[in-house]
């Protein structure tokens, strides 16, 4: 008998970076870097010829150099979390995180190209890199893209323990 299913379950981790993968990425902040203010989190680990993040960074915190297949290196001390790289990254793989937003919560800025955008203060379902529900999140800020080519950015507040897990949301 042929099985009929309504939903295909998550099969494996194909396309999902593990914490071990992430820690080896030169664009991924160290644990100390996360303790400071806002910091860019560059989850880019393939030698794709691409460097708009380096070009757009006004503080030279991101270095790709030559050849342009190099992975972006983050100098977290220079990064002020201005979000310019989040808006331009063609891979939508840069986030900006303020781990210590307040005593209990972290703030995660996520590139978001779906319509409609959520509203400030809205309750959303925060998801992990596999699209699984993690926790509730509250929309802190919505930055609608001003130019056709940039991505909109949504900042959501989630409990601190999930700062490295939550990377998307729906509502």
């Amino acid at each position: 008998m042929l099985k009929k299913i309504r939903k295909i379950p998550n099969f494996d981790n194909a396309g999902v970076l593990s914490l071990k993968d992430l820690k080896a990425i030169p664009g991924f902040p160290s644990e100390t870097d996360f303790e400071n203010d806002l910091v860019a989190v560059i989850e880019c680990d393939e030698d794709i010829p691409c460097n708009p993040c380096e070009d757009v960074c006004p503080h030279s915190a991101i270095k790709v150099g030559l050849p342009i297949t190099n992975l972006p290196h983050l100098d977290a001390k220079k990064c002020i979390g201005c979000l310019k790289c989040v808006a331009i990254c063609p891979g939508l793989c840069i986030f900006v995180i303020n781990k210590n937003f307040d005593d209990k919560n972290s703030l995660i800025f996520i590139p978001y190209e779906y319509s409609p955008l959520p509203n400030k203060g809205q309750l959303v379902r925060a998801l992990n890199r596999k699209g699984e529900y993690v926790c509730k999140g509250i929309v802190y800020k919505v930055i609608k893209s001003s130019k056709k080519n940039s991505s909109s950015i949504v900042g959501i507040i989630v409990p601190k323990k999930f700062y490295n897990e939550v990377r998307h949301f729906n509502f």
Partner: protein, 374 residues
């Protein structure tokens, strides 16, 4: 009869470009800016080729329009085109080229047949989607991922609400993402190989939005009477190069769209018809016209650029088009050798950058086989 006048007028082009996609448009712009008298022919009702189906941002560096969406590059190229003196024929199909006198036959809106001649012809006809065959693949609701992309991004028609995507190359991943942006539910991406073939960042984008990617799986059947109702999918094993379905792993899922993203092949009919020397290079999508570093085929004066010269990206197609524009301009005496060498090296540098890294290396090898061969 003013046929002699017409003849003279029709002959009056220094470069005929067939295909107004990224390669053809870039070649037209570059050549015309140097002073070459160019005619650009395309079978569609507007130029731009596949650029107008691309709503995602391009990779690359500033020189490759990185961080800009494909359709914006299309808009820019059309704006450039309007500012230069290029004759543009739309809704026009080229169906034959005589190799010796380099006469191009075409027909506009399938009416009268015309011919024009030029010493230089660029074939920039792009690519075709390669289908995979399975039971039910001819049902309405089974289509190429490129077709689905054109439907939603150009004609604003949602091709389906519940989607199965076959193939996890960049096209499969990107079109899945765009279908979600347009409001469809992508039920899953099915990949024959044991790993994802496209960029991980594209995969990550759809994974975090909840789309499973099933590696080592394939579609067995599209079911439905007059339209796709469901897809049957099975897990597979590779056994000595052949595919073995794993019994009991099959499942059926309701869907109304099955997209096939199993790659492209060069749209090379005109090349075959001309008798150009062709070579099979798997990394470039199949049979490609042999060409030298000036993108010139085995017949002098016949050039190729873009996907027809090997399946790559829009960014490489634009560079190859520019290269042909520079070569033709130089040969016709519109640029000095010293300047040409500079332009040529700049373009090659950018092409080399675009073909670097683990995703570009096979294409780079394929291209060098072609250029060393000729």
């Amino acid at each position: 009869m003013d046929s002699s006048n017409n003849y003279k007028k029709n002959c009056d082009y220094e470069l005929i470009i067939i295909g107004a996609g990224p390669a053809g448009l870039s070649a037209a712009k570059t050549a015309a800016e140097r002073g070459v008298n160019v005619i650009l022919i395309d079978e569609n009702d507007r130029p731009g080729g596949q650029l107008f189906t691309q709503t995602h941002k391009f990779f690359g560096s500033k020189e490759h329009y990185a961080g800009i969406r494909g359709f914006q590059i299309g808009e820019k190229l059309l704006k450039d085109l309007a500012e230069i003196n290029v004759k543009l024929l739309l809704n026009t199909t080229v169906f034959g080229i005589f190799p010796t006198e380099k006469r191009v036959m075409y027909s506009t809106n399938n009416s009268k047949i015309h011919t024009i001649m030029s010493e230089n012809i660029l074939i920039a006809t792009g690519a075709l989607e390669k289908p995979i065959l399975f039971k039910g693949w001819t049902l309405p609701g089974v289509m190429g991922a490129g077709a689905a992309q054109t439907m939603m991004n150009v004609y604003r028609v949602l091709p389906g609400k519940r989607v199965i995507m076959i193939g996890s190359g960049n096209v499969g991943l990107i079109v899945s993402y765009q279908l979600m942006q347009a409001g469809s539910k992508v039920l899953g991406v099915i990949e024959l190989l044991p790993k994802i073939s496209g960029y991980k960042v594209h995969a990550a984008k759809i994974r975090r939005a909840g789309v499973p990617i099933l590696t080592s799986h394939t579609i067995i059947e599209a079911k439905g009477k007059n339209f796709v109702k469901s897809a049957v999918i099975s897990r597979i094993n590779f056994n000595n190069g052949s595919i073995e379905y794993i019994k009991g792993s099959e499942f059926e899922i309701n869907c109304d769209l099955i997209c096939i993203a199993s790659g492209f092949q060069p749209f090379s009919e005109l090349c075959w018809q001309l008798g150009l020397e062709m070579k099979y290079i798997s990394a470039l999508g199949g049979f490609v016209p042999v060409h030298n570093i000036y993108m010139e085929s085995s017949i002098p004066g016949i050039f190729v650029a873009g996907d027809v010269a090997g399946i790559e990206e829009a960014s490489t197609a634009m560079e190859e088009g520019k290269l042909v524009g520079e070569v033709v301009a130089f040969r016709l005496g519109y640029s000095k050798e010293k300047d040409f060498k500079i332009y040529f090296n700049q373009i090659n540098k950018r092409l080399s950058d675009l073909r670097s890294g683990s995703f570009g290396i096979e294409r780079k090898k394929g291209k060098s086989i072609l250029t060393n061969y000729s």
